[in-house]
Symmetry: C2
Subunit: 225 residues, 2 copies
Amino acid sequence: MELVTTRADSLFNDLRQRIVEGQIPMATKLSEPELAAHYEVSRSTLRDALSRLEGIGLLERKANVGYRVISLSTAQLLEIFQVREALEGMACRLAASNMTPDEIQRLRQLLQIHQSNSLLQQGEAYMQQEGDLDFHYQIVLGSHNQQLIRMLTEELYYLVRMYRYQFGMASPRAKRAFSEHQHIIDAIADGDGELAEILMRRHIAASRKNVEQRIAVNATTQEQA
Amino acid sequence: MELVTTRADSLFNDLRQRIVEGQIPMATKLSEPELAAHYEVSRSTLRDALSRLEGIGLLERKANVGYRVISLSTAQLLEIFQVREALEGMACRLAASNMTPDEIQRLRQLLQIHQSNSLLQQGEAYMQQEGDLDFHYQIVLGSHNQQLIRMLTEELYYLVRMYRYQFGMASPRAKRAFSEHQHIIDAIADGDGELAEILMRRHIAASRKNVEQRIAVNATTQEQA
DNA sequence: AGCCATTATTTTGTCGACAATTTTAATATT
DNA sequence: AATATTAAAATTGTCGACAAAATAATGGCT
């Protein structure tokens, strides 16, 4: 993607990964002197990286207090699903108009790979999750809408991955998801943007409801404990 | 909104306004030494502000080269309309479920003020434009979805305002827009999220088509010149 | 003259230090 | 013992300076 050149760049990438993967837990207050010492860079360089992490929504900043890793509640996870439903629905509609035959071809291949992979390594829910995001990623790119692409791939998807890593919501809907993906591709290939959007919105809404249910169950069992 | 405290904060706010209003033209390369001297701050403070401006999408940065004001083409303006259609459509749907009676009341008052204002100062297209954005702004807040609110009010709306200032696309649809706004409020008040979303999407799509047409006309007249 | 290589100059990236603010600790008071 | 006040420590905000990189200028060559 973007070539890493400066110290701040690689720091940005490294911290981003550590935050997404939860090695730096949510809501952690970041100490600039401590982090700078750990990475053996000056505070200027560190702060450059930190402000960029704030820009993509992974950090919050309070004047005269400092940076803190965001802390996502389950309520906010559901909010993210609603945003995704809107944005990816539109992306799908646009993809039906704008994807090249070549892009559609590659999308089909991607789905086949995921399918065969999931048959082999059943239970590897993690792989399925990343694959799922790949699929969505390709459609978003296929929208050819730079604003849309930026919002999703450079901001929202980091939050999504952060959730998946830290809450480990492995979907039990894998099989159904594949079938839904298939139908979405077909609609895109037909150039039927309206249908493609509807199918994508349903697909994401179904995931949201699934998570919603799981949260409700969790809350219940925790009450009993 | 957020209280200004640090030098970098006020710099951020001032530069943001100057960029949005076009006092610093699109695509301008920013010289850090020059800007720092002009504002009488150190480069550290300036860079803090600049990186935040990058975060909200008003500046672009290239490693070892520096910051540059973004440059929006008319094609990208249309892209923004598509994103708004998706996001504000969803915001409207959510607003129908989540707005309090108080918020709906204030929204109605807002529309009345705009209507009487526009009757008095006809031709003041600029006022209408800002009023229009206010209306949309209130609905977005009414969604009570923090992610959605952030994306629109802290990022996309700056681009929208930047366009309006610099391209001065005064809408000739003012009268129709008022009527559309009225219907949207009614749907929200009825708690009919599905209808509210459809109406908002049509409303924004109509604006987009309007701009699209104008661009086509402009292109034609320029060919003739 | 036009183009390429080399040198100067400017600009960005990075560093360490001090000032202003916040947070923590200690002390006094009820 | 708990709270309020004050003092100490640590943290963030800001500054100026140097190093590395990119841009501009100079000079040599065909």
